[in-house]
């Protein structure tokens, strides 16, 4: 049906090019289907296998809600810290200039290349029982490892590049002359930032925050190693899923995974949709 009408940007389609097109689209669809869509469907099926009631029962338990609450708390703290410091780092990247600045660019992406397990282990080496800061922490009676502060630090490390990498291009695209115009009209630095710079960067912030938050909610390895996964104390949702699997509570594991996965997906897709509607 579509054989005659398909034209690939100016080049007339021949019979072979039409078949090649179908083949390539088919191969890609099959690949994405097997790699991403089918496992997603299998997860949904696994969660609903014993019915929606069993699923609700598996989720509706104090331990599970605690894990969700714990995860959300860590996520919010991480987002706040990264919004403040990430903005500062992005600003330094784009507007500031000093010797050795290129080094910043080189190290900024390193957290992507460090294994989450190693991130947790680093924190144990620093804050652990025999860690570098052990005497200091003991004197002040602060617990970082096997406690929430360590989990926050681990999540901060893992999510470090997102805010900066999202903000830098937005800040680069922003025209400095707008700020200069505001200054000419007598606006102060803070006023200019609030009324001119910030509105222009708004979508960068929203997107950076969403990415950071989604990634923070899903962090597993770093938080497990540094937090120890103590039931009822340092158990986030991913750690709960891991324990539930270990204890053969499959419905609980699948349901929590589905809930967490759906939340993250909606977060990312929702922001994307909002932004496109704004434009």
């Amino acid at each position: 049906m579509t054989t005659i009408t398909t034209v690939v940007r100016g080049r007339p389609s021949t019979r072979s090019s039409v078949w090649r097109r179908r083949l390539l689209i088919g191969v890609v669809a099959l690949y994405v289907g097997l790699l991403i869509v089918a496992p997603l469907v299998a997860l949904v099926r696994g969660a609903f296998l014993e019915g929606a009631a069993a699923m609700w029962q598996a989720i509706n338990q104090p331990g599970v809600w605690r894990a969700f609450w714990q995860t959300l708390q860590i996520g919010v703290v991480v987002v706040v810290v990264h919004t403040v410091f990430g903005t500062a780092v992005a600003w330094v990247f784009v507007r500031d200039d000093f010797r050795g600045k290129w080094l910043l660019n080189a190290i900024m992406d390193l957290p992507f290349a460090v294994s989450p397990v190693v991130v947790g282990y680093m924190l144990i080496l620093i804050f652990g029982r025999r860690g570098l800061l052990a005497p200091l922490l003991a004197a002040w009676d602060i617990q970082v490892v096997f406690a929430v502060p360590g989990m926050v630090l681990a999540t901060l490390f893992v999510t470090m590049p997102f805010m900066v990498r999202v903000l830098v291009p937005v800040l680069e695209a922003f025209d400095v002359r707008q700020e200069q115009a505001a200054a000419t009209l007598g606006a102060g630095g803070w006023f200019t930032f609030r009324r001119v710079t910030f509105p222009a960067l708004r979508w960068g912030f929203v997107y950076g925050i969403t990415l950071t938050f989604a990634r923070a909610l899903g962090e597993f390895g770093a938080v497990l190693v540094v937090g120890g996964g103590i039931q009822g104390r340092t158990e986030t949702v991913p750690i709960y899923i891991f324990r539930a699997l270990d204890e053969r509570m499959y419905t609980g594991a699948y349901s929590a995974a589905l809930l967490l996965g759906l939340f993250s997906i909606l977060l990312i897709l929702g922001t994307d949709w909002l932004r496109r509607r704004q434009e």
Partner: protein, 278 residues
């Protein structure tokens, strides 16, 4: 109108500029440089020989080897399929294209542990697809290297696509059209014109996915099942060493993984800088 040439920046007060700089630098120093240095310092503290001996231990060595070859296989498959996906997305219109484009970013949103669980739910030996493959091909997917490769492919799928796609979009198709007018076959056009233009982003996408794969833990720990010599990867090995408080082993493997991943990232940086110049 705008005759000013020197770009002034947000804070006009000198201490504000220095303040922000100080804040950003001390944050990076405390949160990034110090923790990474501590690992290197601890790994090298017993000397190079001890470090090497720890990594060369049979269990550690086989974990590292498994990590490297599964990551390499993943990078190759990801390169081919990512390129193909980007090509199809840029050049063709078809029903469901928007959905496909949205699906590509899903792996970035889905927690890695959930990824592992999803793969077990589909390809596990007790599940429909896993059982079918085991029966017809005699190959386990879960608790075996194919599962590791699948998990890595899932997690890194966006890397190559999103690195090639924008370049392919910007590519001037007039060159391809000219070649077509001169009776070049489509394969020749792809081989001689399209491919050279996207070679660099393709390579950096593959290398970045490789660097990311070296340390992957969440997706693998469920799928691979932590069987030494068979399905234990480097990250899972480090986890075991930390749990059993074996500091030497944990630090040595951490340093090895970081050295490999950082060199790959540095290589990508070098390639991109060279690409921008040439």
């Amino acid at each position: 109108m705008a005759s000013m040439t020197t770009p002034t920046t947000t804070p006009r007060i000198p201490w504000a500029r220095l303040g922000i700089r100080g804040m950003a630098l001390s944050y990076l120093f405390l949160m990034l440089i110090i923790p990474i240095s501590v690992i290197f310092w601890d790994g090298f503290s017993e000397g190079m020989v001890t470090l090497w001996q720890e990594v060369a231990k049979p269990i550690a060595w086989s974990a590292l080897k498994l990590t490297l070859w599964t990551s390499a296989v993943m990078a190759i498959i990801n390169g081919v399929m990512g390129l193909l996906t980007a090509f199809v997305l840029v050049r063709y219109t078809f029903p469901g294209k928007t959905t496909l484009n949205a699906i590509i970013d899903l792996p970035l949103a889905i927690p890695t542990l959930v990824t592992g669980l999803m793969l077990v739910a589909l390809y596990g030996p007790q599940q429909v697809v896993g059982a079918w493959v085991l029966e017809h091909f005699g190959q386990r997917i879960i608790f075996a290297p194919p599962g590791i490769v699948l998990a890595l492919l899932f997690v890194t799928f966006p890397f190559v696509v999103r690195s090639v796609q924008p370049v392919l979009l910007d590519l001037d198709q007039a060159q391809e059209d000219a070649a077509a007018t001169l009776a070049a076959t489509s394969w020749m056009i792809f081989h001689r014109i399209t491919f050279p233009a996207i070679r660099l982003p393709l390579l950096s996408g593959m290398l970045l996915s490789f660097a990311r794969a070296i340390g992957e833990f969440g997706a693998i720990v469920i799928v691979a099942g932590n069987i030494p010599f068979r399905s234990q990867t480097a990250a899972v090995y480090v986890y075991g060493e930390v749990e059993s408080e074996n500091r030497l082993g944990a630090s040595a493997m951490s340093v090895a993984m970081m050295l490999i991943a950082f060199s790959v990232v540095a290589l990508v940086g070098y390639l991109e800088r060279r690409g921008r110049r040439g």
